[in-house]
């Protein structure tokens, strides 16, 4: 589904990603872990197509297409979804109205009929129930005045409605208490399917107790320095990120990810 080869990304004049290799197959959940400043969020934003993140080398193939050649909205309509680390507050834009426009943009691209207000509400109510999201959230402006937990839940709610093929969760666990974390994780788990893949970016192992990944990758200084199964996350939890440093010093450029 996703084939990332030697991806290099610059932000302003700083090299952040120095050659990421990652292969994600349909139905897999990959966790990307790493200390602050390792490039985790940069990787997520580059996949979503943030204009401030300049790709200076490498390639990303998504379902046979060159992802890097697509605008952010084309990527979204093609099934790539990123749950933001910092969801943006947009005063005056109604959450439901926006989500309906986004869903219909995607349906239009897929050659499906656009949903009218009633069909949309029926769909949305069903999703709200699964995620324990309060209906009032629909009628508010997008993220405006939402608590940290509400913002993250709203992201997962958007994901549930848009039903992406590849979902990238950028530190969705940060700032969530245990109950909210469980709700978010349940929402993600309910969406796991053989056709859908997830890239879960997180600093802490905690989220992975609830969203159990198939693979864990550790990012340090813009490269993947270790890859393994679920147990790698536990090892990290125990030993801390300092533990990855020897690998880094050994010239981790080639260590890379699971090929």
């Amino acid at each position: 589904m996703l084939e990332v080869k030697n991806l290099q990304v610059r932000v302003e004049d700083k090299e952040i990603l120095r050659g990421i290799n990652l292969s994600v197959k349909a139905g897999e959940v990959h966790a990307i872990m790493g200390p602050n400043g390792s490039g985790k969020s940069t990787f997520a934003r580059a996949l979503a197509g943030h204009p401030g993140y300049e790709v200076t080398g490498g390639s990303v193939n998504y379902q046979g297409h060159d992802l890097l050649d697509m605008d952010p909205d084309e990527r979204a309509r093609d099934g790539v979804f990123m749950a933001f680390q910092y969801p943006v507050e947009i005063p005056g834009v109604n959450n439901a109205y926006f989500l309906k426009a986004a869903l219909n943009a995607k349906r239009k691209q897929q050659g499906l009929d656009e949903l009218d207000a009633m069909d949309f509400m029926a769909l949305v109510k069903q999703k709200l129930k699964i995620l324990h999201v309060d209906e009032s959230m629909l009628m508010r402006s997008v993220n405006e005045g939402f608590s940290g937990g509400e913002k993250k839940r709203n992201e997962i709610f958007h994901m549930a409605v848009l039903e992406p093929t590849l979902a990238v969760l950028d530190e969705t666990d940060s700032g969530l208490d245990i109950d909210a974390l469980r709700v978010v994780a349940d929402g993600v788990n309910a969406m796991r399917s053989p056709e859908r893949s997830f890239i879960v970016v997180t600093h802490y192992q905690r989220l992975l107790e609830y969203i159990v990944p198939d693979y864990v990758h550790v990012l340090a200084d813009g490269r993947i320095v270790r890859s393994g199964g679920r147990e790698l996350a536990l090892e990290l939890e125990e030993k801390g990120y300092g533990w990855t440093e020897p690998a880094l010093r050994q010239g981790a450029g080639q260590a890379g990810a699971r090929q």
Binding site: A48, H50, G52, D73, Q85, L103
Partner: protein, 444 residues
């Protein structure tokens, strides 16, 4: 119109002559005057503007284009009340309407008392010019205690179909001086909309004066939709006087004219009066849109709420000057002013100037001015959910203007105003790519 002028009552002739003397002594304002520093009206002052002579064929179609179903319709064509285009078939109880010419001649109650008396023309040269030509217009009188639910729609049409140098089909440059007087008696309520429209793509000079008297505990909501021809010069003085516990709302929506100047002045003259003065304008191309607001808190316990928002594209210019005077006697004043502008292009400019003059000591006055660009992070967020850049931009602009558009309580008018607004925005976005360099790279 000489014969009609002669038929006018002596008091009206006297007010005209006094205004003419006033204008003759000050003339057209120049940019040396503080109030006109950023707005150069020499294209108006230096051109020759024959006074428009009554109706013209296109006026009917222009009126039809902005008709609000179910409203009482009053049409002013080139400053003259046009009975034939107006619709007074359903005249609600408590509402009296006259053309100013007939009303003045027949000594209709209130006209002599208020016409030209709501504000001082000494500080408004264009209002003096209007008054010196005062001949016709409309008077809307709401009797004491009347609650008028039917909206009143004044359509102010300007232009000419006499051949011009540019076109045989019409557009000879003309000047008109439309005049409106609204007097709401004690405890009455009324909702008035006015649409300024003219022959598209032609030059004319429309110089309007609207006077509003809000009686004790009365409510007047005034909506102004300014959609003049792109070549027109539009000057309007909207001046209101609010008595004790009266409520006045002015909501202005502006998209037209080559040069627009609005002077909106509200005097809170009675204790406990309240006013709202909101506006949103869209300046594109080489348009100049100037709004000068003035709020006179003359008495205690009055409140005022002001939100002005501008969207500027192309090489447009805008001016916002918001003056608030809190007089010595006006204790417990609560005044709030917000002025925001979005610059969609690097070539657009705005001069924003809040001007607070506070003489009382127990008051609450806040003002805020912000000029910015579209939030790139918000644009990216919307795009990352699947909206293309133009859709995302439209959504953000709609949200920006929404706070002011929501004040429009006549649904049919709101539809018209929004449709006009967003059609123009789309034309504007077609002309530029809308791309800005990314600015925000925090939090990686």
């Amino acid at each position: 119109m000489a014969t009609l002028a002669q038929a006018a009552p002596a008091w009206l002739n006297e007010r005209r002559e006094s205004a003419a003397r006033q204008f003759a002594s000050v003339g057209f304002p120049t940019t040396r005057l503080e109030d006109w520093r950023f707005t150069n009206v020499s294209p108006i002052a230096e051109a020759n503007w024959p006074l428009a002579q009554g109706g013209f064929a296109q006026a009917e179609a222009l009126t039809a284009a902005v008709t609000i179903p179910g409203a009482v319709r009053l049409v002013i064509v080139n400053g003259q009340f046009a009975a034939g285009l107006s619709d007074l078939s359903v005249l609600p109880k408590g509402l009296r309407i006259a053309s100013l010419r007939d009303g003045a001649r027949d000594a209709t109650d209130g006209i002599e008392t208020y016409l030209g008396k709501v504000f001082s023309i000494a500080s408004h040269p264009f209002a003096a010019l209007n008054t010196s030509f005062l001949d016709d217009g409309v008077a809307i009188m709401v009797t004491k205690g009347a609650v008028v639910e039917t909206p009143i729609h004044i359509v102010i049409v300007t232009g000419s179909d006499l051949p011009s140098e540019a076109s045989a089909k019409g557009g000879q440059p003309v000047v008109a001086h439309p005049r409106v007087l609204i007097v709401a008696g004690e405890h009455s309520q009324v909702r008035v909309a006015q649409t300024f429209i003219g022959v598209p793509d032609t030059a004319y000079f429309n110089n309007a004066v609207i006077e509003v008297v809000v009686g004790p505990s009365a409510l007047v909501q005034l909506y102004t939709d300014q959609r003049e021809s792109d070549q027109a010069f539009h000057i309007a003085n909207i001046q209101a006087h609010v008595e004790a516990k009266g409520v006045f709302e002015s909501h202005a929506f502006s998209t037209g004219a080559r040069i627009m100047r609005h002077d909106i002045g509200i005097g809170l003259k009675g204790e406990g009066a309240d006013c709202t003065m909101n506006g949103v304008y869209l300046a594109d191309g080489e348009r100049l849109m100037d709004t000068h607001t003035s709020l006179d808190h003359a008495r205690p316990h009055c409140t005022s709420h002001q939100i002005y928002k501008g969207i500027l594209a192309g090489k447009s210019k805008a001016v916002f000057n918001g003056r608030i005077i809190v007089q010595l006697d006006a204790q417990k004043t609560d005044a709030k002013q917000t002025n925001r502008a979005l610059l969609l292009s690097d070539d657009a400019t705005i001069n924003s100037n809040p001007q607070l003059e506070i003489f009382a000591d127990d008051v609450k006055c806040t003002h805020g001015a912000a000029v910015g660009q579209l939030d790139e992070e918000a644009l990216f967020y919307l795009q990352a959910r699947g909206l293309n850049r133009a859709e995302a931009r439209d959504m953000l602009l709609h949200a920006f203007a929404g706070e002011v558009l929501e004040g429009l309580k006549i649904p049919a008018l709101r539809e018209q105003v929004e449709a006009n607004f967003f059609t123009r925005l789309r034309q504007d976005s077609a002309g530029q790519d809308g791309g800005h360099a990314p600015q925000d790279t925090e939090g990686r």
